[in-house]
Amino acid sequence: MNDVMLAPARVLVTKIGLDGHDRGSRIIAAYLRDAGMEVIYTNPWQAIDAVVALALEEDVDVIGISSLATDHLLVPKLMVALNAAGLGHVRVVVGGIVPDEDEVDLLAAGVSKVFHPGAVREEIVTEVEKLAIAANKERPVD
């Protein structure tokens, strides 16, 4: 089985909804870059269809959503939109302040992993790498 990526993983790191705190997403971007991945980093307040457009244009493997307030409540809508755009293979992770009951909903909606405050570099990087490989395997045959 080919578990090796032939190119660096491409990860979109972004924020949706209303919040604008970006300390977390900047640190994640640095983690992923240090692990050899390519991070497409955006400004906050992306609309759902903008995230889909970005993921499409940049042919990303993973989308990382940083959420502080309650913006994670919009993620299920994002999952639906990604599927509709033929991006079902793209993995989505959410990081930030997410109450436990909401985490259950996110995972049910198709989010691969929710990272809470206290998650460490190694854990995050390993998981994202795994997900990028999985996304690559599932990419529709051209």
């Binding site: 640095a30 050899g36 051209d142």
Partner: protein, 321 residues
């Protein structure tokens, strides 16, 4: 299933039909330079030659991305579609990169007439311009009118990438420390248009004068390099910039079939061959080139003869593997 190595003609066809996902996918494939690239490029070959490629480069802090953003707006208002390849350096240590150029171009995300792709240099070490040329070809085949190639810096790789463009714009801003020194000689040689961005800053006029003074020292050619003043934030000067781009693109095409026919491919070939030859001569450990050097040193042969002999030697080595 293993990595998709067999590209059905479907991808090329979809790209030619204007499907964003296909273009995005094709760029990924071309970036990786796998075995399927040749076939892909062959499929799109008949559809090339429409787009003009505009290169933007310059030192960090000059406001290139903001300027490109304004340029896209100007092109769109003229009814042109635009594709952008924004290249940033990968970390030489980790191989990763944070690609943030498109942050400044956020207003165009939802415009179907604009395609933006963030690319990392991936330590290509000289193959970067080939990659850039191929990406430009894909965008050309996807029917974009204008292709923007944005790179940061003014070093050797950037110069080589800039040569892939039909119109090369070098952007600087006043007060970037070295002012005009930031625009190193190499990039200045091939620049078609010099832009001084952040024209609202007090030193802007001085930077424009300095650049004009430098250009005046050049031998006159068939194109007078204009020095333009822009303010990417309020869009001052963008109209002039777009007009200058049009004029330069026209003169390049007018040069005759040599330019029109695979202009950037020709330049890519010239660049690559030159690098190969240079690398071979400087790193050659065999006796053959050494001998030519010695003969030249001792004035036993003239320079022209030395060139001929060197090429012969290299040709022999290539034949013999």
């Amino acid at each position: 299933m293993q990595e998709q190595t067999i590209e059905k003609p479907g991808l090329a066809a979809r790209l030619l039909a204007g499907e964003t996902a296909a273009l995005a996918r094709a760029i990924s494939i071309v970036e990786r330079d796998g075995p399927t690239v040749g076939k892909l490029l062959k499929s799109i070959q008949p559809h090339l030659g429409r787009a003009i490629v505009v290169g933007f480069t310059g030192p960090p802090g000059a406001g290139k991305s903001t300027l490109v953003n304004a340029f896209i707006g100007e092109m769109r208002s003229r009814g042109k579609t635009v594709a952008v390849a924004a290249v940033d350096p990968s970390s030489p240590i980790t191989g990763g990169a944070v690609l943030g150029d498109r942050i400044r171009m956020a207003e165009h995300t939802m415009d179907a007439g604009v395609y933006i792709r963030s690319l990392a240099s991936r330590g290509h070490l000289g193959g970067l311009s080939a990659s850039a040329a191929r990406v430009a070809d894909l965008m050309d085949a996807a029917s974009f009118d204008v292709i923007v190639l944005e790179t940061v810096g003014a070093g050797q790789s950037e110069v080589e990438m800039a040569e892939m463009a039909d119109v090369r714009i070098v952007v600087s801003a006043p007060g970037l420390g070295d002012d005009v020194q930031a625009i190193k000689a190499g990039i200045l040689e091939i620049a078609d248009i010099l832009v001084v961005n952040k024209s609202d800053l007090p030193l802007a006029k001085r930077t424009v004068s300095q650049l004009n003074a430098m250009l005046a020292l050049r031998a006159p050619g068939d194109w007078n390099v204009p020095v333009l003043s822009t303010n990417a934030v309020d869009r001052t000067g963008l109209c002039d910039l777009a007009d200058a781009v049009d004029r330069r693109a026209a003169t390049r095409k007018m040069k005759g079939p040599r330019e029109a026919l695979g202009g950037r491919t020709r330049r890519l070939l010239a660049q690559s061959v030159a690098k190969y030859v240079e690398h071979s001569i400087l790193n050659d450990t065999g006796a053959s080139i050494d001998e030519v050097v010695l003969q030249l040193q001792q004035a036993d042969i003239g320079l022209n003869e030395a060139i001929a002999k060197t090429l012969e030697q290299l040709s022999e080595s290539l034949k013999n593997g």
